[in-house]
C-alpha cells in the first residue's frame, strides 16, 4: 500500500500540474449562462454590421463581465500578454461602439478572434 501511494501521489501531482498548465484551451469555453465570451463578440459583430449600437453596447457589457470570469479560470495556463490583449481589444471595441464607428470596431473584433483562437 505504501509503495502504491509512493507512486500514486507523485503521478497525481504531475497529472494535476499538467492539467493546470494546459487547461486554458477548455477553461476558456462557457461554463454557465453568462460567460460565453466568443458568442457575445460574434453578436457584437452582427449588431455593428446592422448598426444597432444600443444592442451592441449591451453585448459588449456582457462580454466584459464574461471575460472577468473567464480570466480567473485561464490565468494559470495562458500568457499574461494574451490576457492583456483580450482585455485591450474589448476596451477598444467599447470605444468604437461609443462613437458608433464600425470602421474602428471591426479590426478589433477580428483581432479578438485571432487571440481567442490561440488562447489556451
Amino acid at each position: 500500500m505504501k509503495k502504491f501511494l509512493l507512486y500514486l501521489i507523485p503521478s497525481l501531482f504531475v497529472l494535476a500540474s499538467f492539467l493546470i498548465m494546459t487547461g486554458g484551451g477548455w477553461l476558456k469555453g462557457p461554463f454557465g449562462d453568462d460567460d460565453d465570451l466568443l458568442s457575445y463578440v460574434e453578436e457584437i459583430e452582427v449588431y455593428v454590421k446592422a448598426e444597432k449600437w444600443e444592442e451592441a453596447q449591451q453585448e459588449q457589457r456582457k462580454a466584459e463581465n464574461a471575460w472577468k470570469r473567464i480570466s480567473k479560470r485561464v490565468q494559470y495556463s495562458v500568457e499574461r500578454d494574451d490576457m492583456m490583449a483580450i482585455a485591450e481589444s474589448l476596451h477598444r471595441i467599447k470605444g468604437g461602439i461609443e462613437v458608433q464607428d464600425a470602421a474602428t470596431v471591426f479590426p478589433d473584433i477580428y483581432y479578438f478572434y485571432g487571440i481567442w483562437n490561440a488562447l489556451g
Binding site: P10, F13, V14, S17, F18, I20, M21, T22, S71, K72, Q75, Y76, S77, V78, E79, R80, D81, M83, M84
Partner: protein
C-alpha cells in the same frame, strides 16, 4: 490577472516538480559533481525559477524544458552505466598531476591548474611537502586525490599485526521515546535487554529517553530529555535574547 495568486500556484508546481525530478535524477548530482552536473544543475534551477515567476510566458513551456533536461540527464546516466567508454567521454578521466614527488607540468597545463592551486589542494589534505606525494590525481568531479609515499603514510593496525574487530555501525534503538523494533532485531537484541540496560542507566520509562543507540562495541548510548546541564559551558557573552 491576479498575479500573486498565479505566482503562488506556479511556485507550488515548481517546488514539488523539482523535488520529484531531483529524486528521479538520484543522489549522483551531489555525490559526483562533474562540470557537466554543475552546469546542468544550474540550468535546471534557472528554468525552474522562470517556471515559478515568469508569468509573461506559459508555464507549460518551462515545465516541458525542465522535463526534457530530466529525461536527458537520466538518459546520459543510463548510457554511462551501459558503456564505460561513453561514460568517460561524458565525465572525462582522472588526470595525474604529480608522480613520485614531481609535478607534471604538461598535465597541469592540460587541466588548467596552477602550481599554487595544486599546493593549496595538497595542504588541504594535510600534505605540506610535495616530496611526500606518490601520486596526485585530478578526479572528474574536480577534487584532487592524493596517495602519499609509503614512508609518509600513518601506521595502521594491520601494519603492526595488532588484533582487530570487524567494523560495525551505530544502530539507533530509541528515537523520541519510541523503540525502533526493526533495528533492535537487526542487532539481535530483545526489548527486555533494552529495558534492563535502561534500568542500569537509572531510566524506568521510555518517555524519558530522547535517543538511544547500540554502539559498534555493543554498548548502549542513552540520551535523556533531562540533560542536567549547567551554565559553565555557555559561550555567550551577553544575556540576550538576540
Amino acid at each position: 490577472m491576479q498575479e500573486p495568486l498565479v505566482v503562488i500556484v506556479r511556485a507550488v508546481i515548481t517546488f514539488f516538480t523539482i523535488l520529484l525530478y531531483s529524486r528521479l535524477i538520484g543522489k549522483q548530482l551531489i555525490g559526483n559533481f562533474t562540470m557537466f552536473d554543475y552546469i546542468n544543475g544550474i540550468t535546471i534551477g534557472s528554468i525552474a525559477a522562470t517556471l515559478a515567476t515568469d508569468i509573461s510566458s506559459k508555464a507549460l513551456v518551462h515545465w516541458v524544458a525542465l522535463t526534457v533536461f530530466l529525461v536527458l540527464t537520466i538518459l546520459l546516466q543510463f548510457i554511462g552505466l551501459k558503456s564505460r567508454y561513453l561514460s568517460k567521454i561524458q565525465d572525462s578521466e582522472p588526470v595525474v598531476l604529480m608522480q613520485r614527488g614531481n609535478m607534471l607540468e604538461k598535465n597541469l597545463e592540460k587541466a588548467r591548474i596552477t602550481k599554487d592551486e595544486l599546493m593549496q589542494q595538497l595542504r588541504s589534505k594535510n600534505i605540506f611537502s610535495p616530496i611526500e606525494v606518490e601520486v596526485a590525481l585530478l578526479e572528474p568531479d574536480g577534487t584532487v586525490s592524493i596517495l602519499p609515499k609509503s614512508q609518509y603514510r600513518p601506521v595502521e593496525r594491520g601494519d603492526l599485526n595488532l588484533p582487530f574487530q570487524p567494523s560495525k555501525l551505530t544502530t539507533e534503538l530509541i528515537y523520541d521515546g519510541k523503540v525502533i523494533a526493526q533495528n533492535l532485531e537487526q542487532r539481535k537484541k530483545s526489548k527486555d535487554w533494552l529495558m534492563n540496560q535502561l534500568k542500569m542507566h537509572g531510566i524506568h520509562s521510555l518517555e524519558e529517553v530522547s535517543y538511544a543507540a547500540v554502539l559498534p562495541n555493543d554498548q548502549l548510548y542513552v540520551d535523556k530529555y533531562d540533560d542536567h546541564v549547567g551554565d559553565d559551558m555557555n559561550i555567550s557573552d551577553y544575556k540576550g535574547p538576540y
